[in-house]
């Protein structure tokens, strides 16, 4: 009956790029051969048609259809079939009139059914976003239909949780018919949500807030230079506003008895739709928590990482030790294919009358899945199919004791505070390389905890929800359905065998999608660093640019200065020099942290009056005594590999040119700090701004422009966030022995991280003090009196 009734119909769908929308489109194309679809999607920069092709039709849901296209003509390909039956229309439920153009409006006018499945489903979406999409979305769709004089049947997808957080029966009735509904003016909520955005934007711009954000940016990036810091402050500010808005949504929802802003805005959305629909016939379909498919288009099919997955994955990895909930509570999930069938059954049935009708599709009333049962199933499955850790050991899953939400939250927050403190300590230490990774690890754990805490906050309300969603209208429709429909469009929640669904369908597909490591042994794919290294050493690259200090050698300008300065001192002077330099060290370090180029300018003054010839000669000697001793052989090898690949190699360093001169054979070009000279002696002033921080980025940009090289095809090696502008500018950034801040940035951005160290076996050199030129030792000399005269 469903196929016959929908045959030849034109059906509009919003939200086709979402989980439910994609399943809906697939089922209509596959099972209702004669219908046509109008997909209203946000066009993005590619345009609506391309978006539909990429984001909808390429999904693996269509694999079945692609291999055996439906629609009669056996020779018709999937592309031909979709080209014939699917129209893409650019539109946005977040904009008045849906942002439709003339053609879109006329397509909509010709539709027989409109299924509104677009929603902002994220549980932490900003209040105003949720209001625009969930509350005003249905209103706008109905309005657009009225404007187009459409007589189509509007099916608006909502959620069972519009019933709010409560116990007991929640029947299929309009929200305002519920005795528990607190009537609020939805228009007032829209206004206040929009105002909240303005207020938050305002609050984010107060001097105090901006100063705090600047401090945070600095803490994260260090001395990265003004452009990088300002960009960071702005992105932090936006994030702050979003957090404020998300918080505002949660608070407003809670105040009205909803688990989150999603349920709250959906509830008022239903109310607004009913109020403003005019003549448009409306049916509301309310699913509970939609989960992976039971059978259609294939068992376990799902789109996006949804709802329970992050929680289960975190549990399987042993990260989530506790999760709140009542073991006998009902966790109301419903496979997506049952929801699709329900919507199609409602569409086939047509409007129920003049008044809007509500159909709920949930499992709790007919075939409840208890929370305790779910946890047991998941636990047993993971005991049989453990996730393996990096060392190929199976991870044991914890046993949950079903504590209350408050206790879990408190536990998590305590752990997070401890990690936060650890993170602050680590961040303030001058760590590098593998030790800096320690902070990355703490940070990762902290991220995970934060996520876990988020789950507890968000899902906790759902697991504790004890409402039982009535299914009278659904079951009535089911009872009336003919056997063919029952077979092809099953929406009876009683068919679900939970143990089979959880263990045989949902978890196997989930672990595949979450890429959990389910077998010991080497990772199937090539390890990421190996792949990144190959990309870096690809012949296609143009240029490899290197920083010097801590990237190629474990040394710095202070060390090379003190080497040069002590080269001609006697031992007493040496001791005094060392003492003086050590006294100064903290101040120098602080200055260096604040601003590299100021530090260099200040520091290089010390070379004032140094004789050019002697310093240059000593610089050559320093190659053996300091640079090579402190060098990272793997780094030197990497430069040479680049050269063999035919890449140009470039050294950009704040070190003095005379210091790096002996490294010239490694590089096509060297850009270093250069000191002015005055009559055979250096004047201690830099000829131009030292190439550090943004200056380094500019230097690199100028260099690539001058040589016709592509920054996108360049590789940059550096160790510190002061090099961030340069690293961000190139196509292939490499963090070498990164200090803590860069380590965490590189980890998050997926950059190649190299740990290069000086050669084991290098002479231990605690202080960078030069050996004195060879001098007579006098003792143990010739046994005879000297009668040697040099014969010149």
């Amino acid at each position: 009956m469903i196929v016959e009734r929908l045959a030849g119909k034109r059906i509009a769908v919003t939200g086709a790029t979402g989980f439910l929308g994609t399943a809906l489109v697939e089922r209509l194309l596959r099972c209702v051969p004669d219908c046509e679809l109008v997909l209203v999607v946000r066009p993005g920069w590619r345009g609506a048609a391309e978006r539909v092709r990429r984001d909808v039709l390429r999904n693996d849901a269509f694999d079945r259809l692609r291999s055996a296209p439906a629609g009669g003509a056996g020779s018709e390909s999937f592309e031909q079939m979709t080209g014939r039956r699917v129209r893409a229309v650019a539109g946005d439920v977040g904009r008045d009139g849906l942002g439709l153009d003339e053609a879109g409006r006329s397509l909509l006018a010709d539709c027989d059914v409109v299924i509104h499945a677009a929603a902002a489903v994220s549980f932490d979406s900003a209040l105003d976003d949720a209001v625009e999409v969930n509350m005003l979305g249905p209103v706008r769709v109905a309005e657009a239909m009225r404007a187009a004089a459409s007589a189509a049947h509007l099916i608006s997808v909502s959620t069972c949780y519009v019933a709010g957080s409560r116990r007991g029966a929640a029947p299929e009735q309009l929200v305002d018919q519920s005795p528990f509904f607190v009537d609020v003016d939805w228009r007032g909520e829209v206004d206040s949500a929009r105002r909240a955005r303005t207020d938050a934007e305002q609050a984010s711009r107060t001097p105090e807030r901006l100063a705090a954000l600047a401090r945070e940016a600095r803490r994260e990036l260090g001395a990265a230079g003004t452009p990088a810091l300002t960009a960071k402050v702005e992105s932090l500010r936006r994030r702050w506003v979003d957090r404020q808005m998300s918080e505002a949504g949660r608070a407003r929802a809670a105040s009205l008895g909803f688990p989150d802003a999603y349920a709250f805005t959906k509830a008022l959305g239903e109310r607004a739709l009913v109020e403003t629909r005019g003549e448009v016939p409306v049916s509301i379909v309310r699913p509970s928590i939609i989960e992976s498919a039971l059978t259609e288009p294939k068992p376990g099919w799902i789109r996006g990482f949804r709802m329970a997955e992050p929680v289960i994955a975190a549990y399987a990895r042993g990260l989530l030790k506790e999760f709140p909930g009542v073991p006998e509570g009902i966790i109301d999930v419903i496979p997506v294919d049952l929801v699709v069938s329900t919507i199609l059954a409602v569409a086939a049935r047509g409007p129920a009358g003049d008044e809007p009708d509500v159909t709920q599709i949930a499992s709790g009333a007919a075939n409840p899945l208890r929370y305790g049962q779910l946890v047991d199933l998941v636990r047993e499955w993971f005991i049989d199919h453990p996730v393996y850790d990096d060392r190929n050991q199976p991870i044991g899953v914890p046993e949950w004791s079903f504590p209350g939400r408050g206790r879990v939250s408190a536990q998590l927050q305590r752990a997070q505070r401890a990690l936060g403190a650890a993170d602050r300590v680590l961040a303030s230490l001058p760590l590098r390389g593998r030790r800096a990774e320690l902070r990355a690890k703490v940070e990762e754990q902290s991220d995970q905890l934060q996520r876990a805490n988020g789950y507890v906050e968000l899902y906790g309300a759902y697991t504790e929800c004890e409402a039982v969603f009535g299914l009278d209208r659904l079951m009535e429709t089911w009872d009336r359905a003919d056997p063919a429909d029952r077979a092809d469009f099953c929406f009876d929640p009683r068919v679900i065998d939970w143990s089979h669904y959880v263990c045989g369908v949902h978890l196997p597909s989930m672990v595949r999608r979450a890429r959990l490591k389910m077998a010991p042994g080497a990772a199937s794919a090539e390890p990421r660093p190996v792949r990144l290294r190959r990309q870096v050493l690809d012949p296609e690259r143009h240029l490899a640019v290197f920083d010097l200090e801590n990237t190629l050698i474990a040394s710095n300008v202070v060390a090379s200065y003190s080497w040069l300065a002590t080269r001609h001192l006697d031992s007493g002077e040496r001791a005094r020099f060392v003492a003086r330099t050590l006294r100064e060290a903290p101040r120098l370090l602080a200055l260096d942290r604040r601003d590299r180029s100021d530090f260099l300018r200040y520091f290089y003054r010390r070379f004032e009056g140094a004789p050019v010839d002697r310093l240059d000669a000593d610089g050559r000697e320093m190659l053996s005594d300091l640079l090579m001793v402190k060098s990272f052989p793997a780094g030197i090898r990497r430069i040479r590999q680049h050269r063999r690949m035919g890449h140009r190699t470039l050294l950009i360093t704040g070190a003095l040119d005379l210091v790096v001169e002996p490294l010239r054979p490694l590089f096509d070009d060297i850009i270093a700090a250069e000191m002015g000279a005055d009559g055979g002696a250096y004047d201690g002033r830099l000829v131009s701004a030292p190439p550090t921080g943004e200056a380094r980025y500019q230097t690199l940009a100028d260099y690539t422009a001058a040589h016709g090289l592509d920054l996108g095809q360049s590789v940059a090696y550096a160790d510190s966030t002061s090099d961030l502008p340069m690293l961000e500018a190139v196509g292939f950034p490499v963090a070498v022995n990164p200090e803590t801040k860069l380590a965490s940035l590189a980890r998050r951005r997926g950059w190649l991280i190299e740990h290069w160290s000086p050669s084991a076996g290098a002479p231990a050199k605690r202080l960078p003090i030069a050996p004195r030129p060879s001098r007579a030792t006098g003792s143990r000399g010739s046994p005879r009196p000297p009668r040697l005269s040099r014969t010149a």
């Binding site: 050559r620 005594d625 090579m628 054979p665 002479p763 060879s774 007579a776 010739s782 040697l788 014969t791």
Partner: protein, 538 residues
């Protein structure tokens, strides 16, 4: 009465059959030592000869040799005003360990310079004939030549290291009858007289190898520093059966025809490596003859070494200067001089040994020719064991074909970044792909030998030439081809495996592993070296 007080004459080397009463045997083990019991009834230990007496008047002997050379006119008669005189001398790789002052080179060169001064020669250059070795530092030159020579010649640029990569300072002298190129340091080649001062520590040293190798460059060295030559040198310590030496001698013939007149001075030192008395004296004694004091000082030394950090241990060993004594000095025509020198070397080193063994054990010491004041990296461990120690034979190898060598050495994954940069890359890249000498030679040698960065470091820093690690590997090519297995006791497993060898934690484990190759209850021979012993295997 007087004759009673004379020290007893040194005893020759010894082959000891191990029985149940034999005490544990000393194995050198890098910067440390180990004592191992060898399986009784089927093991033997080859002990070096005790140090021959040094010359009572070394300076007098040198004068005598210079004034009465073999097959050549007395040195003073070859010197005249206005002539170009070049004195080339062996580099840091000799002797091992470095000797106490005055070094033999200092004694000889001071006298040569005296004679030159007396003859009014004023164009004198001194060149460290280091071929592709690292440049010696000023302190090292000063130690080898003494303060007076160094201070007189270094500041005016007349004392320096050979630079085989300076295209302007190398000349081609011609080609041998087998088309081998002969090159030489320009200053040496264009001199009226080239005096070469040798320290012939082992039988491989000296002869035409001094000038044909020490003052040449890569283009000339590649004719004999290659896998084919090394596999056909059986051994390279036996000049008459060494393809390495045949090639050098052919190049020597070209030098004789087209090069400078060469006045060769060769010297030998005795086996007094660790001192007859003093903290290390036990190391050159036979274990069952250790006195209570030897035992106590050995135990104390072991405890001290154990307590020391690695760097301190390295410094302690590195500071040891051998109290070598001069045993002979020969001067004059290269080949005639070399025959006599070799006899003198062998008189100290050669020990007759009957029959080969299934398993040869050796304790590798902390030093080899290429890590003076440096680090014994894994490649040098291979070269010392399979190159130098394995080849310390005359007649046939000590170990039978298909036999096993067990070496004891920590074999740390450590490299000196200044001295051995190309070794690091050789180890990380070349050995990671293959350990076969012929394949290595064919695939990688050219690339490393002509690498501009290595050449830059060889010329301006103190790095061995880029191709040098290849030579180290070729040095062991004969042994690699000959042996069934190589096991390293107490080595860092990762590094040992990279070398293509097998790691074992104890000697017993190693012997067990060796039995897989050579069968159960194999015969074992331990080469108790250093002090140096060379087996005359019949």
């Amino acid at each position: 009465m007087a004759s009673d007080r004379r020290p007893r004459p040194p005893r020759p080397g010894l082959v000891l059959d191990v029985d149940r009463s034999t005490p544990p045997v000393l194995f050198h083990h890098g910067e440390g030592f180990r004592l191992h019991r060898l399986p009784p009834g089927r093991s033997r230990v080859i002990y070096p000869a005790e140090p021959l007496p040094g010359l009572a008047d070394p300076d007098g002997a040198i004068t005598e040799a210079l004034l009465n050379p073999i097959g050549e006119d007395p040195l003073p008669s070859l010197l005249r005003p206005g002539m170009k005189l070049t004195i080339a001398f062996d580099d840091l790789s000799l002797p091992l360990p470095p000797m106490r002052r005055p070094d033999v080179r200092q004694r000889v060169i001071e006298q040569v310079l005296d004679m030159a001064a007396a003859a009014g020669v004023d164009d004198v250059h001194l060149i460290a004939a280091l071929a592709l070795h690292r440049r010696m530092t000023d302190d090292e030159l000063r130690h080898a030549l003494g303060d007076r020579v160094f201070d007189a010649f270094s500041p005016i640029g007349a004392l320096y290291n050979h630079d085989a990569e300076d295209p302007d300072q190398m000349v081609e002298l011609g080609r041998t009858d087998q088309d081998e190129l002969v090159t030489m340091n320009r200053r040496a080649a264009e001199s009226d007289l080239l005096v070469y001062v040798n320290i012939n520590l082992v039988a491989m040293d000296g002869g035409w190898k001094s000038t044909a190798t020490g003052l040449a460059d890569y283009r000339a060295l590649r004719h004999h520093h290659n896998v084919a030559t090394m596999v056909n040198s059986r051994s390279f310590m036996d000049r008459h059966r060494s393809e390495l030496h045949h090639s050098n001698w052919r190049q020597g013939a070209v030098i004789r025809r087209h090069g400078p007149r060469v006045f060769q001075i060769e010297t030998t030192v005795n086996n007094n490596t660790f001192g007859r008395t003093g903290p290390l004296a036990a190391l050159q004694k036979r274990e069952w003859e250790w006195s209570a004091r030897d035992r106590a000082s050995f135990v104390a030394m072991q405890a001290g070494l154990k307590a020391m950090p690695a760097a301190a241990r390295r410094r302690a060993f590195g500071s040891w200067l051998a109290p070598y004594e001069l045993t002979s000095v020969q001067a004059g025509e290269v080949e005639a001089v070399h025959e006599r020198t070799t006899d003198n070397v062998l008189a100290q080193h050669l020990v007759p040994v009957e029959g080969q063994t299934d398993v040869l054990t050796m304790g590798l010491p902390y030093i080899c020719p290429y890590n003076v004041n440096s680090v014994m990296n894994p490649i040098l461990v291979m070269c010392l064991g399979l190159g130098y120690f394995f080849n310390l034979y005359r007649g046939r190898p000590l170990v039978r074909e298909g036999g096993v060598v067990i070496m004891s050495h920590p074999t740390a994954w450590e490299f000196h970044p200044v001295h051995h940069p190309s070794y690091i890359d050789f180890f990380e890249q070349v050995l990671a792909s293959t350990t076969d000498p012929a394949e290595i030679e064919a695939k990688y040698e050219e690339q490393f030998a002509t690498d501009e960065w290595y050449i830059h470091l060889y010329r301006t820093s103190h790095a061995y030439h880029g191709v040098h690690p290849f030579y180290m590997w070729y040095w062991g090519a004969h042994a690699l081809q000959w042996l069934g297995r190589v096991i390293v006791v107490g080595g860092e497993p990762r590094a040992v495996r990279r070398l293509g060898f097998q790691p074992a934690s104890t000697l017993d484990d190693a012997l067990e592993m060796a039995a897989d190759v050579v069968g159960p209850s194999p015969t074992v021979t331990h080469l108790h070296n250093p002090p140096i012993v060379m087996a005359d295997v019949t």
